[in-house]
């Protein structure tokens, strides 16, 4: 099983990736998904996270099969 990881907007451009699959057979924290997915050490304070379309934070637990997204502050409307 794997975790689907998505990056949006300026964060997608900065990291040079929009989507990846992270292989994992055990639960991870959002922080760990960020580290493995982005290759960067710590989750920046201005990066927002969702797990399965619901806002989450660095300590949220991620299971295999989940979809995790990282994105900058939203600017719709």
């Amino acid at each position: 099983m794997s975790v689907k990881v998505l990056f949006f907007a300026s964060l997608r451009e900065r990291l040079g990736r929009s989507e990846m699959l992270l292989d994992s057979n055990s639960a991870l924290s959002v922080r760990e998904v960020w580290e493995q997915g982005s290759g960067e050490a710590s989750l920046p304070a201005n990066v927002l996270v969702s797990v399965n379309h619901v806002y989450a934070d660095a300590e949220t637990s991620v299971k295999p099969g989940d979809e995790v997204a990282f994105f900058p502050p939203v600017t719709g409307g």
Binding site: A9, S50, A69, F71, T75, G76, G77
Partner: protein, 148 residues
């Protein structure tokens, strides 16, 4: 009733509402004494620069879900009769409508408060990201929304 639409195609917000109103059963219209509406339109300048085009990125799936949950929460909180949210995605040009939020309720206080609340929450929570294309040829991401 709750209606959320993301669309690439441009739309004329007042025509859209006229259409929507026609679809409602007449009894429902007589029940709602108040409608409050907000329309956000793309301007041709931002932070002192001429903006010729905009690209609105979103997160398919999560964006719809967020908008629906914002609308549902407002319906509960203010006992609204109807909420209609329309938001553009993709390429947008100056003077295009970007967002339409319309709220129907029995009384005006609830309609005004709920419409404004929905816009503020949408601006802070709905996953949309604006990239501006400037007259100079360069592109830049809008870093944060203006305060309401």
């Amino acid at each position: 009733m709750l209606h959320v639409e993301l669309r690439e195609a441009g739309f004329e917000p007042w025509q859209y509402l006229a259409e929507w109103q026609r679809q409602q059963i007449p009894a429902a219209t007589a029940r709602s004494g108040a409608a409050a509406v907000f329309v956000g339109t793309m301007r041709d300048f931002n932070e002192g620069d001429d903006v010729v085009e905009m690209y609105l990125e979103h997160y398919p799936g999560m964006t719809e879900r967020q908008l629906e949950s914002i609308a549902a929460e407002a319906i509960q909180t203010w006992s609204l009769d109807d909420v209609c949210i329309v938001h553009r995605v993709g390429e947008i040009h100056p003077a295009d409508a970007i967002v339409l939020v319309a709220v129907w309720s029995a009384h005006r206080a609830e309609a005004f408060t709920a419409c404004r609340h929905i816009m503020e929450v949408l601006k802070h929570q709905a996953p949309f990201w604006k990239q501006e294309k400037l007259a100079t040829g360069s592109a830049r991401w809008v870093e944060k929304n203006t305060q309401g």
